[in-house]
């Protein structure tokens, strides 16, 4: 029946498959979820990076984004909730040759793992963190996250969120990250470029990706279809490179400031450790 698709060549394999665990596809993420696109951008960035893929390790926590490590044909670790960063810290210090990337969600990294995030940033641990922010806990059916905008509804804020959310780039910059960027999933080229820059950066680099969760957050906040939600984030985005991340708060409505906010050089934890040993 699919043979009837007009002008389409039916394939079994995708050019990116060599970096994917094909036997685990299709993945568990919902139709219209932005996570798959983040993974595509990550794989595309890997293809452009001059790295030995045997030395690239992906660590995830728990949640929808936490499943990312399991779809990549790399050494991958799916750890406990919130603990991806300290686990990654151990990997990096155990074998400094490894290129360690943490891919996890806003709930995992900012709530239960918030302390680890700020301390890894403070130490300038040589890690890249890709924080996919869909403003809620998607895996457990859409509860309040520390990134949920004020007044937004979730299953555990049915009357509207009474809290102020974390501004991820501001938090990362304030606590010492050497590279900070934010994009939405529709900024595929820019996101890919930021992932490349972040992975080439020595030190703690953070890329926040705004992603729709049409199944829960979108539905609770009447944002329409997945496509409409994605388009909404993209349309509301204003690229403002090198602007003050303190101004990059995300509200329930209003603009979303994206771009590269921080790109600085300073000694990493390993640099200082080696210096101290001598």
């Amino acid at each position: 029946m699919v043979d009837e698709l007009t002008d389409v060549l039916i394939s079994k394999h995708h050019p990116m498959d060599k970096l994917l665990r094909q036997d685990r596809l299709p993945h568990i993420w919902c139709s219209g979820c932005g996570l798959g696109t983040v993974l595509t951008c990550f794989v595309s960035a890997l293809e452009k990076l001059d790295l030995d893929m045997d030395q690239v390790v992906v660590v995830s926590g728990i949640g929808c984004t936490g499943r990312a490590a399991g779809y990549l044909n790399l050494d991958g670790f799916h750890t406990t909730h919130g603990r991806a960063i300290p686990f990654a810290t151990g990997l990096k210090l155990g074998n400094p040759e490894l290129k360690v990337v943490v891919i996890s969600g806003d709930g995992d990294l900012m709530a239960i793992g918030g302390n680890h995030f700020i301390h890894a940033a403070r130490r300038n641990m040589d890690l890249t963190v890709i924080c996919v922010n869909n403003f809620n806990y998607g895996m457990t059916s859409g509860q309040l996250a520390p990134t949920t905008p004020t007044n937004a509804r979730t299953s555990t804020s049915p009357y509207g969120n009474a809290e102020h959310p974390f501004n991820v780039p501001y938090l990362a910059a304030a606590t010492g990250a050497t590279y900070v960027a934010r994009w939405t999933v529709l900024h595929v080229r820019r996101l890919e470029r930021s992932i490349i820059e972040a992975m080439n950066k020595r030190g703690f680099s953070v890329v926040e990706v705004i992603s729709p969760c049409p199944t829960y957050y979108g539905r609770w906040n009447k944002m329409g279809s997945a496509l409409e939600q994605m388009k909404y984030y993209h349309d509301k985005s204003t690229i403002r490179h090198w602007s003050d991340p303190a101004q990059a708060d995300i509200g329930l409505e209003g603009q979303i400031i994206v771009g590269r906010f921080v790109d600085i050089d300073k000694p990493t934890f390993c640099d200082l450790l080696q210096g101290a040993d001598q």
């Binding site: 045997d54 750890t79 919130g82 990997l91 210090l93 155990g94 450790l273």
Partner: protein
Amino acid sequence: MGRRRVSNNGILQGSFFMDGDTACAEGAICAGCRFFGGYPITPATEIAERMARRLPQVGGTYIQMEDEIASISAVLGASWAGTRAMTATSGPGFSLMMENLGLGIITETPCVLVNVQRGGPSTGMPTLVGQGDMMQARWGSHGPYETIALSPGSPQELFDLTIRAFNLAEKYRTPVLVMTDEAVGHMTERVVIPPLEEIEYYARRKPQVPPNGYLPYRPDPDGVPPMACAGEGYRIHVTGLTHNEKGYPDTVSVETQQKLVERLIRKIRANQDDIIELREDQVEEADVVVVAYGISARTAARPVRMAREMGLKVGLLKLVTVWPFAEERIRELAPKVEGFVVPEINMGQIAQEVERCAGGQAQTILVPHAGGGLHHPNDVLEAIKRVTSPQSTSAETSP
């Protein structure tokens, strides 16, 4: 400081006067530990301090993490990077580590976790001794599993058992707990560090097949799978979810869960003859056997001697390995003895195990201590006398 020699590789050798915590750190270094992630906590801080000073001298890495949860997570990560890794803590930190201890167990990550026990619950008595975490060591993380816990009673034993803990961790691919206590950790005594070549070193079992034929969780006949680490080209996937032999999550299959959990438990239980270490003193001919571990085994020596001087036939069974529990040995002794006396610095934990294994064939008398000090010899002696006096028949394990 006695005959001391620091070899070129930074490893100590000779006879030293050091406290238990320091001996623990030196044992770890001799065992090949090259990563320590920790967080200061009384009375385990000296282990972290010693490691912070010593690890850079032997090419290792010390990092003070932001809390104990981060510490154990970093230790697991370092182990997967191919390093021998450890952390050390006490009660409150041990509680924080429980979730990731479970991650270490299900992902079969070799590492060593030292708990220098103090008086609890909660912040309790930070500077004073306790043995209240023994059941937490066994059951503290959620879900069904089996664990290995060793209990040293002197600085020298803490040195020796830390080395053993690393070797057991590698051999059975599991976190191993060294359940020491404040009294041992802060006790300063002679510690002999043998030449490095005389120290046992169990190397990590590596896969013998190329990456495309490797199943990360397919066990060898003894139930332990060979371990490929990150960066070795095996492209492993490691998850805390229930997983199949490939390491892939399979969270809806009862069969996969059963197969995994059974193997995790079997690889310890089936090898318990190798894991369980007991020290027995006149147990065979005894009417009363004092079962103790850690510092309590040491303090039990005096009441045992006093009882023998009174003409009682008393043996001392020291549990060097507390978990897995020496079930077979207690079952074997139960019909031959009148009773077991279990002094421990808690309100009855291992005593319950002894009573369970005695199965009503011999009485079990707990000598509890709420913590903060050691048993008075008379308390243990009284319990021994109670077993042998005719009016006492029923088992008593509640305080």
